[in-house]
Amino acid sequence: MSFRIVSLELKQKYEEDRLSVHIDNYAAQTGASLFLHEHAPPHGFLDSPHVPMSVIYNKTENLVWPDDFQHFDWIITEHAARSSQHGHQDLQWTIEGSIGGLRGFELKPMGDSGVWAKIKTVRIVQEPKLWLLRQRHD
């Protein structure tokens, strides 16, 4: 058995269980790094996942919506409006979750009445920044 055949078999086996995820630019800049690619090699000193699942993490930039995204099962994107748009042909994207990020700071009173209402504290305000979209083909 030549190296080419073995490689092809491994490639087919890999592709049978694979799951493709696209990570957009903002997500890649805010911590979606190689250290969190748990289901793709190299695992390094980390333990392999309990449920073996090969995931292809893709960080290609400047992809065209929706044609270039039809091959992805999941996308991590900052464009929530894409969930309401249909993908390629009969494919559709549904929101599976949203993740908050920093919006800013604001002053808020410590209480509702009395002295506490006059004392203000600085609070961190967050808002949804990234959305997890899953492709459905009903």
Partner: protein, 92 residues
């Protein structure tokens, strides 16, 4: 609480410093109080700003949170059966 604790440590030191400088240089009391107020205030503001920015940046990594969330979903026992509906994971 940490800010108050640090300020309570720093305030006596600053008071001692200003009293010493006033004693050596014969400065007016008003200047030493102003100096004390400004230095302690600036130090406290600096600490508060550092704590706020640290807290804000600690919780401002949505990309890693999203990927961690996705990894949790992938590790669910029923995910494999569910995922076979996807394009890249055919039943055949």
């Amino acid at each position: 609480m940490a800010v108050g604790y640090l300020c309570s440590l720093v305030a006596p030191l600053m008071m001692a410093f200003t009293r010493l400088s006033a004693h050596i240089g014969h400065r007016p009391v008003f200047i030493s109080y102003c100096l004390k107020f400004i230095l302690v205030g600036l130090f406290g503001l600096n600490i508060i700003a550092t704590m706020l920015l640290t807290q804000a940046s600690m919780h401002n990594y949505p990309g890693s949170e999203a990927l961690r969330h996705l990894n949790d979903i992938v590790q669910r026992p029923d995910f494999r059966r569910e995922s076979c509906r996807f394009v890249s994971c055919p039943l055949s």
